[in-house]
Amino acid sequence: AYIVKSTNKDELIIHLIWCLYSSWWGGVQMGPPDPILGVTEAFKRDTNPKKMNLGVGAYRDDQGKPFVLSCVRKAEAIITSKQLDKEYLPIGGLGEFSKACAELALGADSEVLKSGRNITVQTISGTGSLRIGANFLSRFHGGPLDVYLPKPSWGNHTPIFRDAGMQLKAYRYYDPSTCGFDFKGALDDISKIPEQSVIMLHACAHNPTGVDPRPEQWKEISDIVKKRNLLVFFDMAYQGFASGDIDRDAWAVRYFIEQGHNIVLSQSFAKNMGLYGERVGGFTVVCNDAEEAKRVESQLKILIRPIYSNPPMNGARIAATILNTPDLRSIWLGEVHGMANRIIKMREQLVAGLKKEGSSHNWQHVIDQIGMFCFTGLKPEQVERLTKEFSVYMTKDGRISMAGVTSGNVGYLAQGIHAVTK
């Protein structure tokens, strides 16, 4: 309320009416558009027939169409024939799913699984998993509530941890001068992180850069992280999708566990099973022993219940069916391999195309980077030109989703990139 200085009766009446009818929400500002999803909005409005959407990370086939894996369709048919009920899942989700999810990440012969010292719960895909993890750490972590993200990291990491009440810090990761890994910078920064802080590591196919440490580099990172006594939070959203091999992509996670790190881990099945909209994910805490795992589990349930009570069935049931049915699992591994291969091929074709256009730049990083995304190295002005003049849509940081590239449009893309960088 405030004083209205007016002797004008009409003005006063208008003000009074305004007060009576003014909204609770008058002060609510318009939220900024999501930087990644906003790209798709702009893309949709563009009428250029050659337009390309290289923004959001969803896999497309070589015709540029969404790809429903055949193992998913087969699993759905099996599930439909079983005529199951729709009773609530437990808070921690579908048991067969959580078990298979943990096995996929840790390896079926993992000592952690044998001793039952992990707790794995089904979550609302990767985001939901990170959020539960962040909430758990915020409530129970005895060390500093500081999460160290690689620079750069997935844009949504920051607000997730912040909303959960944690502080965000960073360690050097991407080297723009090489479009590769700033190994020295990373080790240097990590060696200075205060003990017991939380460090976020992308298990494979780093988002947004596509730059992953090599195994020998992972080993050194593990050593320094151990020395600093940091709590490791792995985000694995692309297992299988990066190299085409699920065990190879989980190598870092498994190595760290072998080295004695009791990690926390987020997994997503959005990309590697194409189950984006079904929201399939897992959150794992590796504990000292089974007794501790039980205590942690009980607290995770307390966290989950007031957010969404229990998770959705459909996607988890599909994923569990695939993972637990040998034939389907086999088909799945082949299809994941196929998706990863197509991406690798597009990387090669893009570089070949750029060479053909006569580009004098070194584009080796396009081939060296791995996974869905490529950090092209394009500057914001170049990105803007690429969008305005060629209708190629990508995020301002120069990130492109290779999944949006096809044999039919890779030549056009090479043309455009060459035009804005020559």
């Binding site: 929400w25 008058g26 009920d85 899942l89 990767g126 985001t127 939901g128 504990c287």
Partner: protein, 410 residues
């Protein structure tokens, strides 16, 4: 040395522990009157025939894929779900001031609403705004609002244990004496756990005070259609408040009335003052969604949207809902009749006066313990029973057990 060595064991969520204890019980005549899910007369879960039909449609539609939904959810789901709550001809909808967020069940809808209110209602990030929930209420209400950051979640008088009915005077008294701008969580129909709803006249009194004292209206609508068998009747309170001109939220669940429990289908309907307010509210909702689950699951929303948007399927759905509601009404009538025939001490009118899935029997905790331990009949410590757990085959045993309990245990 583990970072989690100090993590204490949390107590299990009561209603799920009850189900687990029931599962482990070997007694052949055991009865589960605990968790709130519909059961057929054979004591089995029931996938609605219309849902089976629609699932087949989905599985055979090659045009459908598993791509991400928009952050706020499936548009055809959101709009048709809001229409169910507010009515097809709702003036608020026609005035473009109704929006929605597809959420993970009713819980998710409450969560999103709570998170928004904590950030933007009554100032910015005002965690001190009192949130009032009925005494008693669904046990998760407290946690949803507390976890969203509200420091002050309090009870408002609701259940009159002595008279087994609504404590209207107490309720109205709390509305008059609470701090202005307090948030009130109202059960749209079929109050959980008491099954006792205000009458239309009583709702009008409640609305008057809330308007005058600038209190925020947050409806929880988890049983529309399920309570009386009529969608319109069960939405009367929500629609009345909308017609009064409130800016309000309504958290809708399709778990019970569509039997889609595990697909997590919910909708937060937002009634704003005008389109501009609505636009800004939705833009902020997107940010909250993005850091919680990014975008909602598609299967359940598709099933509901396809059903609501097809005249034949919609009609079939209404029949399925009525089937469920009618069986519950039958069980209520029969339980009361049997208790009266047995001459069980006390009055049992409340069993048929109450509405929806639950009944607050009036059994005290000692009596509940007796029921569970001696008779292997599982119900909540509050004395709440799920009417759906009753069948023509077990109702005699339950009635006799209640009779025995009430006479033996005080």
């Amino acid at each position: 040395m583990s970072v989690f060595s100090e993590v204490p064991q949390a107590a299990p969520v009561a209603v799920f522990k009850l189900s687990q204890d029931f599962s482990n019980d070997q007694f052949p005549q055991k009865v589960n009157l605990g968790v709130g899910a519909y059961r057929t007369d054979e004591g089995q879960p029931w996938v609605l025939p219309v849902v089976k039909k629609v699932e087949k449609i989905i599985v055979h539609d090659d045009r459908l894929n598993h791509e991400y939904l928009p952050i706020l959810g499936l548009p055809e789901f959101r709009s048709s779900a809001s229409k169910i709550a507010l009515g097809d001809d709702s003036p608020a909808i026609q005035e473009d001031r109704v929006g929605a967020v597809q959420c993970l069940g009713g819980t998710g809808a409450l969560k999103m609403g709570a998170e928004f209110l904590r950030r933007f209602y009554n100032g910015n990030n005002n965690t001190k705004t009192p949130v009032y929930v009925s005494a008693p209420t669904w046990e998760n209400h407290n946690a949803v609002f507390a976890n969203a950051g509200f420091d002050d979640v309090r009870p408002y008088k609701y259940w009159d244990a002595e008279n087994r009915g609504l404590d209207l005077a107490g309720f109205l008294g709390d509305l008059e004496s609470c701090p202005e701008h307090s948030i009130f969580v109202l059960h749209a129909c079929a109050h959980n756990p008491t099954g006792t709803d205000p009458t239309q006249e009583q709702w009008m009194q409640i609305a008057d005070i809330m308007m005058r004292r600038k209190l925020f209206v947050f409806f929880d609508s988890a049983y529309q259609g399920f309570a009386s068998g009529s969608l319109e009747k069960d939405a009367w309170a929500v629609r009345y408040f909308v017609s009064m001109g409130f800016e309000m939220f309504c958290a809708q669940s399709f778990s019970k009335n569509f039997g889609l429990y595990n697909e997590r289908v919910g909708n937060l309907t937002i009634v704003a003052q005008d389109a501009d307010n609505l636009k800004r509210i939705l833009s902020q909702m997107e940010k909250i969604v993005r850091t919680t689950w990014s975008n909602p699951p598609s299967q359940g929303a598709r099933i509901v949207a396809i059903t609501l948007n097809s005249p034949e399927l919609f009609s079939e759905w209404k029949d399925n809902v009525k089937t469920m509601a009618d069986r519950v009404l039958l069980m209520r009538a029969q339980l009361k009749a049997k208790l009266q025939a047995l001459g069980t001490p006390g009055t049992w009118d409340h069993i048929t006066e109450q509405i929806g899935m639950f009944s607050f029997t009036g059994l005290n905790s000692k009596q509940v313990e007796y029921m569970v331990k001696e008779k292997h009949i599982y119900l909540m410590a509050s004395g709440r029973i799920n009417m759906c757990g009753l069948t023509t085959k077990n109702i005699d045993y339950v009635a006799e057990s209640i009779h025995e309990t009430v006479t033996m245990v005080q």
